[in-house]
Symmetry: C2
Amino acid sequence: MTATAGWAERLSAARPVLDRASAAELVADVLRENVIDGSLPPGTRLSEETIGNLLGVSRNTLREAFRLLSHENLLVHELHRGVFVRKLAAADVADIYAMRRVLETAGVRAVVTAPPEAVREVGRHVEEGQAAADAGDWVAVGTANMRFHRAIAALLASPRVDATMARLLAELRLAFHVMGELRLFHEPYLEDNARIAALLAAGDHERAEWELLAYFDTAQAQLLAAFAEREA
Amino acid sequence: MTATAGWAERLSAARPVLDRASAAELVADVLRENVIDGSLPPGTRLSEETIGNLLGVSRNTLREAFRLLSHENLLVHELHRGVFVRKLAAADVADIYAMRRVLETAGVRAVVTAPPEAVREVGRHVEEGQAAADAGDWVAVGTANMRFHRAIAALLASPRVDATMARLLAELRLAFHVMGELRLFHEPYLEDNARIAALLAAGDHERAEWELLAYFDTAQAQLLAAFAEREA
DNA sequence: ATTAGAGGATTGTTCAACGATCCATCAATA
DNA sequence: TATTGATGGATCGTTGAACAATCCTCTAAT
C-alpha cells in the first residue's frame, strides 16, 4: 500500500525534469560553474561575441543567460559596457554575513519545531565535510560547509528562505578566491560545525545560536582581513 | 564646510540614475506597475506579440523584460506556453509570511543599534498611512503599510535584507487582489502600526516584537481565509 | 464519451543589420 | 608636461525576419 500511496507526489516531484531547461538556462549553468570554481575570476569581462562563439549560442540566448546570473548576483551588467564577473567589496562580505546571521539564527531557533529529518540533514553535512577533509579535498570541504549552513537555514522549512540562502552562499564563494590556502580557512570550522550540529540534535538552540554567532564573527573577520591584505 | 564635505558620496549616490536606461528595464517597470496595481490580474497571459505591439518594443527586448519580472516572482514562465501573471497559492502566502516573520522580527530586535534616522522613518510611514486613510484612499493605505514594514526590516541596515523585503512585499501584493474590500483589510492595522512604531521609538523591542507577531498571525489568517473562500 | 489526428497559432532560437555608446589613441593647447 | 578635445574601431542595444518546435483547438472516428 505504501508503495502506491504517494504516487501523485512522486510524479509531481519529477516534473522539473520534464519542463527541461531552456538553452539560456543551460548556458547559465555552465557559466555559473566556471564562475564559482574560479575559472572566471572576479572582474573578468564576458564578451558577448567571444563567449557566444565559444559555447555555440546566439547573442540573444547568451544575453538571457547573463540576465539570469546577474540576478543571482554572480555577474554585473553595465550598460553599453558588458557583463563582468562580480567583484565583491568588503562591504558586500559584511552584508552577506549580516543576512546570514538573521537567517541562520532564525533557523537555529526553529529547531524545536523543525521536522526531525531536517535536523538529521544538518549532521549529515558535518560528516560529509569530515570525510572530504580526510581525503584532503579542501574544495569539497568548502562545499560541505556551504551545505551545512544551508541546512541550518532550512530548519525554517521555508522555500523562500532556502532559495535566498542558496543565493547568498553562491555569492559568498566569489569572496573565497581571495583566500590563498583553503585548508587554513576551512579546517578550523570542522569542529565548530560538529559541535553546533550536536547542540541542535540535542535541542539546545540557545548554545547553538551562541556558537554560530561566534563562528560568523571569526569567519567574517578572517575574510575581511584577507581583503585588506589584498589591497596592500 | 558640511555642504561640501560629502560631495563624493552624493555624486556616487546619483550614479544609478545615470546608468538607468535599458529598454528591457523600462518595459519591466511598466509591466511591474500594472501587475502590482491589479491592471493585469493573476493568471493573465502576456502574449509576446500583443504586449510587444502595445509597448512598441521587439520580441527580444520584451522577453528580457519578462525574464526580469519572472525572477522577481511576479510572472511565471512556462516553456512553449508563454508568461503569465503569477497566481499565488495559499502555501505561497504562508511562506511569504514565514519569511517576513524572520526578517521583520530581526529588524525589530536591531532597533537598539539602528541609526535614529531609520527609526524615525518607521514612524513617518505610519503617519503616511493615517493621512491616506483620512483621504479615503485605501490603495495608498496599503502602499504605506508596505513601506512601514519595509522600514522595520531596514532597521537592520542591510542592503540585501532591504532588497529581499521589497521583493517579498511586491509578491504579496499579488495576494491582495483576493481581498474584496480593501478598507476592511487595511483599516484595523493602522492602530497596530502606530503602537508598534511608538514601542520602537521607545526602544521597547520586546513588546514591539510581540505586537508584530500578533499582527502577522491575524493578517495571514485573514488572507488565507479569503483564499479558502475564493475556492468555494 | 473517449481517442486520434490535422491545422493554426505561439513560442524558442538564430541570424543579420544598424544606430548608440564606450574606449584607446593621438593631436592640440596652455 | 599635463590637460583637453577629436577621431575611429570595437562592442553593446535593439530591431525585424525567419524557421523549427511545441502547444492548443477543433473535427472526425471509434
